[in-house]
């Protein structure tokens, strides 16, 4: 039981990270109708930028950890968002009215570019950082000595996710930008006729998605203490699985799917085998798409001629 509770905590934390990435997938899919294959690599870039900012701040002699974290968060969100914007501009916008496989292939190309770009610029080796946020709470100690730990970093990941989700939900449901986004999602032509700047709205979608991925990258860096150039690929597929599981196009669904994938992966590793945890996640993707193509919270898609 204690073991189960500990795994539950770990799974929820991992799921929060997946959920943050999944939102980027689901938003872009909802509006442009394409799978942004490079989104996982944006997450990786976010992690790297966070790492470099950390290094610079520490070598500048900053010691106040909350200040460092805030600066790192803002810098990494800003620069990664610019990456998202640039990629949309270069690789996706010219293809918006091309045939349907073109944006997907372009996205795959972009994913290779980003992966190898960070390999070329930062080297192939894993980059570890020392733990910044240490300590935690012991929730329960069983007689046989098993301890349920809730570390501060885990609390931070979950709280950051909740705060960001609140801001994000407000953004989508209450602001002008959110209204434009929802309008573009329903009918781009009609939205354009009614004075919505479709290009700008789509750009902003990529910017927001990338910024959330950057937060996920930072959380990953803090939680696991390392980044490497290849981590975007698998994390990207898992987050996509989460988006599909939650119902692609649905924002609460993405978060829900992320939590589900995080829990499934953690429990699978804990009770079955660590080696096959990725197989489990990928199998879920296949199973969900076969039996529940609309996901948990998605709307059924009507095929139009």
């Amino acid at each position: 039981m204690d073991y189960f509770a500990q795994q539950l905590i770990n799974g929820l934390v991992l799921g929060s990270i997946y959920g943050l990435i999944a939102i980027g997938y689901t938003m872009v899919y909802g509006i442009v109708g394409m799978i942004n294959f490079a989104h996982g690599d944006i997450f990786m870039i976010g992690g790297f930028i966070a790492l470099i900012t950390f290094l610079i701040l520490i070598s500048l002699g900053l010691t106040a950890i909350p200040v460092i974290l805030l600066v790192v968060l803002l810098v990494s969100m800003a620069i990664t968002a610019l990456y998202g914007w640039t990629i949309e501009r270069i690789a996706y916008r010219p293809l918006r009215h091309s045939f349907r496989l073109a944006p997907m292939l372009s996205a795959i190309g972009m994913s290779f570019v980003l992966t190898n770009y960070s390999q070329v610029t930062q080297g192939a080796r894993v980059k570890p950082i020392p733990p910044f946020i240490t300590g935690g709470y012991t929730l329960h100690e069983s007689p046989d000595g098993f301890v349920i730990q809730l570390s501060n970093i885990q609390i931070m990941v979950v709280i950051t996710t909740i705060v960001l989700l609140a801001i994000f939900t407000w953004l989508v449901s209450r602001t002008r930008l959110g209204r434009d986004m929802r309008a573009c999602e329903q009918d781009q032509t009609m939205a354009a006729l009614l004075g919505v700047n479709v290009d700008r709205t789509i750009s902003m979608t990529f910017v927001i998605g990338a910024a959330l991925a950057a937060v996920a990258g930072l959380m990953y860096l803090l939680y696991y203490g390392l980044v490497d150039f290849f981590m975007g690929f698998v994390a990207g597929i898992k987050a996509f699985t989460a988006a599909v599981l939650g119902g692609i196009g649905s924002l609460p669904g993405a978060m829900l799917g992320g939590l589900a994938i995080g829990l499934i992966e953690t429990f699978w590793s804990a009770y079955f085998s660590v080696e096959y945890k990725d197989v489990a996640a990928f199998s879920i993707l296949i199973v969900v798409l076969i039996f529940m193509p609309t996901g948990l919270l998605g709307r059924p898609e009507v095929e139009k001629v």
């Binding site: 394409m34 799978i35 790297f48 790492l51 470099i52 900012t53 290094l55 610079i56 070598s59 810098v75 620069i79 610019l82 990456y83 270069i90 690789a91 293809l95 045939f99 349907r100 496989l101 073109a102 997907m104 292939l105 372009s106 795959i108 190309g109 972009m110 290779f112 570019v113 980003l114 992966t115 190898n116 770009y117 960070s118 070329v120 610029t121 930062q122 080297g123 192939a124 080796r125 894993v126 570890p128 950082i129 020392p130 690929f233 597929i237 996509f240 699985t241 599909v244 080696e275 096959y276 990725d278 197989v279 990928f282 199998s283 993707l285 296949i286 798409l289 076969i290 095929e303 001629v305």
Partner: protein, 439 residues
């Protein structure tokens, strides 16, 4: 005097706008590259991260972006608005089609003669075999992507199934290549059906992701099922192919001794060359024949419009399934060939990058065009060889090329979308048959 003034004013604003665009681009590049290029991190010997600055590289990259955007912007103004179809003069067009008509036989004859011309150059022969392997993979995937319009991102899984089928059957049971080759194809096709059956109802991009997941699952299972596959160490000691039962070695009943010629290790290379050439041509021939059959026509119809297909009574699931299985079978053949050529296989060879490479060959070649795929494979693998020393840069360039091709020519170099079979003359249909009037 007004005309010259407007003439001079126009380039002036043009230059201002040009510089502004270039400046903005450079600024964006500066922010993008500032940390990733300007700072280099590395884990030190004690595990402590260190960093050093590379502002020189950063500055030159930003300068390149600045200059590059000026050049691109100038080119754009010079060439004219994009999207305008450039008309090709009829004479050039007919000349092109004349060349096109002779190109295929000429290429085929040249390919047949490659081992004769380059008999002494082992490197070129090896490269030619590699190119032909990718030509075959490209033609196999072309059935799925080019003809049926299904985006398959896990094609390498079938390649892996074929390779491991031959590798394991040959090392465990000692079966010969010629027995295993069809088996490898059948097994790969079987896996294709097994995967395809449940997932082919999905829409295009969902299908892509599912095939990608499937490819990864196969690779992960190969890595982790160590008792069967040897895990990351792979399968080694896979027997070399024999000349229809006669081993191509230096022994007394080897190929050289039997035919009374002097032994040379090149014999095997030449044999492998013709083997893969035959397999590739088989793929090509089957594809061309299938395109003229109802099933091939159904594939092409499916690519153009799935809903219309369904309305016309085509069973889309079986149609997709046959395309998937046919493509998978050729992937399996190519895998078996790969295993016998290398003598050693490991999961390293079957990563997503391979899938993407084959897909890029098909897309670059123009989906559906057999000649285009062959030329694209030559260009792609040849290009990879040029970047041989720059291992990390070549995937970077590959990715950029993929994006640029999609922007520049989304239909590939030789776009081929015309249906293989069509009515040659228009037929008027009686108004009794179509209520709206003439058909």
């Amino acid at each position: 005097m007004t005309a010259p003034s407007t003439n001079t004013a126009k380039p002036a604003t043009g230059i201002a706008a040009l510089l502004k665009t270039a400046f903005t681009n450079a600024l964006v590049a500066l922010v993008l590259f500032s940390l990733m290029v300007g700072i280099r991190t590395e884990a030190g010997s004690s595990g402590q991260l260190t960093y050093w600055t590379r502002f020189g590289e950063l500055a030159s990259l930003v300068a390149v972006v600045f200059g590059g955007s000026i050049v691109i912007e100038l080119l754009r103004q010079w060439i004219g608005p994009t999207g305008a179809e450039r008309l090709v003069p009829p004479a050039v067009q007919s000349g092109m089609s004349l060349i096109g008509g002779y190109l295929t036989p000429a290429l085929l004859i040249f390919t047949l003669l490659v081992p004769v011309i380059f008999y002494d150059q082992r490197y070129i022969l090896d490269l030619a075999i590699l190119v032909l392997t990718y030509v075959m993979l490209g033609w196999g995937l072309n059935v799925v992507v080019g003809l049926a319009g299904l985006l398959d991102l896990g094609y390498v899984a079938f390649y892996a199934v074929g390779a491991y089928s031959y590798g394991l059957l040959a090392t465990n049971f000692g079966w010969s290549f010629w027995v295993c080759l069809p088996l490898a194809g059948i097994l790969a096709a079987f896996w294709g059906v097994l995967l395809g059956f449940p997932v082919l109802r999905l829409r295009g991009d969902y299908l892509a992701i599912v095939t990608l997941a499937f490819g990864e699952i196969i690779r992960l299972v190969i890595i982790n099922w160590q008792e069967l596959t040897g895990g990351p160490n792979g399968v080694s000691g896979i027997p070399r192919p024999s000349f229809f039962g006669i081993p191509l070695d230096n022994s007394d009943d080897g190929f050289a001794a039997k035919f009374g010629i002097e032994y040379s290790p090149t014999h095997r290379i030449v044999f492998l060359f013709y083997l893969i050439l035959a397999l590739a041509l088989l793929t090509n021939w089957v594809t061309i024949r299938l395109r003229r059959l109802p099933i091939g026509r159904a594939w092409e119809a499916l690519r153009e419009d799935e809903v219309a297909c369904r309305a016309l009574g085509i069973n889309t699931t079986t149609t997709k399934l046959t395309a998937f299985a046919t493509g998978a079978m050729f992937g399996g053949f190519a895998g078996a060939f790969f295993a016998t050529r290398q003598g050693f296989i490991s999961p390293e060879s079957f990563t997503f990058q391979e899938s993407a490479l084959v897909l890029a060959i098909v897309v670059l070649g123009g989906m559906g065009s057999q000649l285009g795929v062959a030329l694209a494979a030559l260009a792609m693998i040849g290009g990879f060889e040029l970047f041989r020393g720059l291992e990390t840069y070549r995937m970077l360039v590959f990715g950029m090329a993929m994006v640029l091709i999609m922007i520049w020519r989304p239909r590939g170099l030789i776009g081929h979308r015309a249906p293989t079979v069509f009515l040659t003359k228009a037929q008027a249909i009686s108004s009794d048959l179509v209520k709206e009037g003439h058909g």
